[in-house]
Amino acid sequence: MDDFIAARSQMALSLGFHIVFSCIGMVMPFFMAVAHYKWLKTKNIVYRNVTKAWSKGVAIFFATGAVSGTVLSFELGLLWPEFMKHAGPIFGMPFSLEGTAFFIEAIALGFFLYGWNRFNPWFHWFTGVVVGISGLASGILVVAANAWMNSPAGFDYVNGQYLNVDPIKAMFNDAWFSQALHMSIAAFVATGFAVAGVHALMILRGQNVEFHRKAFRIAAIFGTVAAVLQPLSGDISAKDVAKRQPAKFAAMEAHFHTEKPAAFTLGGIPDEKNKTVDYAIRIPYLLSFLANGDFHSEVTGLDKIPKEDQPPVAIVHYAFQIMIGLGVAMMLIAFIYFTAIWKKKEWLNTKWLLKLFVIATPMGFIAVEAGWTVTEVGRQPWIIHGVMRTADAVTPMPGIAYSFYIFTAVYISLAFIVSFMLYRQIRMVGKVYDVADNNEKTH
């Protein structure tokens, strides 16, 4: 394996792994805070059990997310030293703030996980909320750093020199808001659907139905509300990308030829040689509208972008289609669920609705991974858009392929262990949190 490809693969693997854990780590605290609030308000023991069961899951995910995040802060230098040498002082501001947010999250988590019966119940509840808020803040800050790579700001690039550095301007670059918004909502969609799906499955199996119903409801509300909001933030992102990174936008849509007005390409197999997309459905005018808010506007195609500045088209296009498809599917499920809550209460007790959620369990996370593929692969060949090429940033050390193999093996084993532990947690719900048992030893 080529060292450059190995370095990119290792980075992609590390980010792809970390993103799942960080999403869960930043969203689950909010679910727990709701369950915890209900326990404190209603004194219904089931809510306390839900909170405790979730908090054990969160402890596992947080620990895994914390170490995979630590690894990333080193990997930036291990794999891309040339990039970090120049970019570090410019886009590092969000990282230094993120350090604080992450630290506070770890402290608050210590209070929350070990604080049962030790503190005032509402202080204890509050520490759980702090875990969520600081987690969300960490996520936003890290995404702001990534946004800088897509939309470099806060410096002047003159003859290979990085001058007039302004780290604050770099942090508030043009892409930070749209990217951070899209990612934060995505975290809620993905975690909400994943958690709701697992609890839906347990309800279908008829195990500890009351416990799982309460848990399901909290997760499903968060997930579905976020799923309805996500297309709106996606629209903001799309318009932003079309303006700033026309090459990425063209690759997302496999838009080979500049058109006015431009049609939206749904699905299909891009043929990069002949510059066509086979078996695709084309919707006239739509792409012009998505890109510029005007049905008759021109949309730049790949033909206007020099070959050496083009990202790989097929991967970006497929990833984008997967993300959109899953996003729409989850939005439809969300509408069905809202209908069930407001108009058709009888649907809530039907098996098909729960089955729908079971099927949707992995959708959010697949969409998150696909979305990151769009952002990261779509930025290629640049590591700093328009300024530094990824190939120029890679470490001179040979043999990165072996490092990639080792990290792959480690991450795959970790994924297995975490899934295995999650499976055991869920299986133990009946024993640990049986309501009849717990009523006597309420504490």
């Binding site: 054990k56 570090g88 002082p89 230094s96 630290f103 470490t395 050390m397 532990m421 055991r424 133990m428």
Partner: protein, 340 residues
């Protein structure tokens, strides 16, 4: 403002050594405990580090972020030439962090526990060992930025008797800190005696490996002796460290566990001061020249922003962290004056 950043960097490294190091040491203690006594040691150390263990390791992140934002050339040089030990250390961090969480949050207690235990204990040894190697190679002058072959560039940049001795020394220091801290957490006199013995053994190991470090430095022509004893601050720090060690052993049986902890922490801080002070501000010593914190700092605006971020951050972090440690310390307080 640059000094603010440098002080934060030094303090983060120190706190990582004192808190994170003690965490590693807890695992090292477990590794060197007979299988029969392990369950109890495990329980005590979990009680001690459970609530704060995530926070203890955040100091490493703060230190690395300061380097990558404020001193990019130092960060990228180290990550290029010390790639291999850094990667091994990272694997150690992954293994340790996850094994610790897994063994306490696995819903079913079965044979898997033994797997997590093994991974936890061994990675607790390997991680600080490589941290020591990294620290050693950053000042040993082994990094050769002009080398063209793989071995010189990426292996001999960190592998030598000196760095290995520092690795062992770091492990011993971590074990010593943990054993002293754990005396105050022990549930009964037998356990307390066990940790005292561990502290003694680790102390001997630290002295022995410390001797090795000087020996290796002498053989590799590293002026360690001069760095440590060549200036007043270095000598004062060494004297303070030795004195605190003597007082520590004198007070060992008097049952004031808090004072023991403070003394052990103070002693380690003095060692770090002695070895870093004399070649400050040169944080990395290469075969060709040095990388200085003063000359290789990032742009002025970056340093200002970083200093502000650190100052504001510490306003939030320090009180919260202190309250966390204090809250979970309280339960241990009654033991403080036990069998005097």
């Amino acid at each position: 403002m640059l000094y603010v950043v440098i002080i934060f960097l030094w303090v983060s490294i120190l706190l990582y050594l004192l808190l994170g190091g003690a965490d590693f040491g807890a695992g090292i203690t477990e590794l060197f405990t007979s299988p029969k006594n392990r369950p109890q040691v495990r329980q005590t150390l979990y009680k001690a580090i459970g609530p704060i263990w995530e926070a203890n390791h955040m100091w490493l992140i703060i230190a690395i972020v300061i380097l990558l934002v404020g001193f990019p050339e130092i960060y990228s040089t180290m990550s290029t030439y010390l790639h291999i030990p850094l990667a091994i250390m990272l694997l150690g961090i992954i293994a340790r962090g996850t094994a610790f969480a897994f063994r306490h949050y696995d819903a079913v207690v079965d044979d898997m526990q033994e797997v997590y235990n093994r991974i936890f204990a061994w990675s607790s040894f390997i991680t600080p060992f490589f941290l020591g190697i990294i620290a050693g190679s950053s000042v040993s002058g082994q990094i050769d930025t002009e080398a063209r072959d793989f071995l010189t560039s990426y292996i001999y940049s960190w592998l030598s008797w000196f760095t290995v001795a520092i690795g062992l020394f770091t492990v011993a220091i971590c074990g010593f800190l943990a054993a002293v801290y754990l005396i105050g957490e022990a549930e009964n006199p037998q356990e307390r005696a066990r940790f005292r013995k561990k502290a003694f053994v680790m102390n001997i190991a630290a002295v022995a490996s410390g001797g090795l470090v000087f020996l290796a430095a002498y053989r590799q022509n590293i002026p360690l002796w001069e760095w440590t004893f060549g200036n007043a601050t270095g000598i004062a720090a060494v004297i303070a460290a030795t004195a605190s060690l003597i007082i520590l052993w004198y007070l060992m049986y008097q049952g004031r566990t808090m004072i023991l902890r403070v003394l052990a922490g103070f002693q380690v801080s003095m060692i770090l001061l002695a070895v870093t002070f004399s070649h400050f501000p040169n944080i990395v010593i290469l075969k060709q020249g040095t990388l200085s914190l003063m000359d290789h700092a990032g742009h002025e605006k970056t340093i200002e922003a970083l200093a502000m971020a650190l100052l504001i951050g510490s306003v939030f972090i320090l009180p919260a962290l202190f309250y966390l440690m204090w809250s979970f310390q309280r339960s241990a307080m009654p033991h403080d004056s036990y069998d005097a």
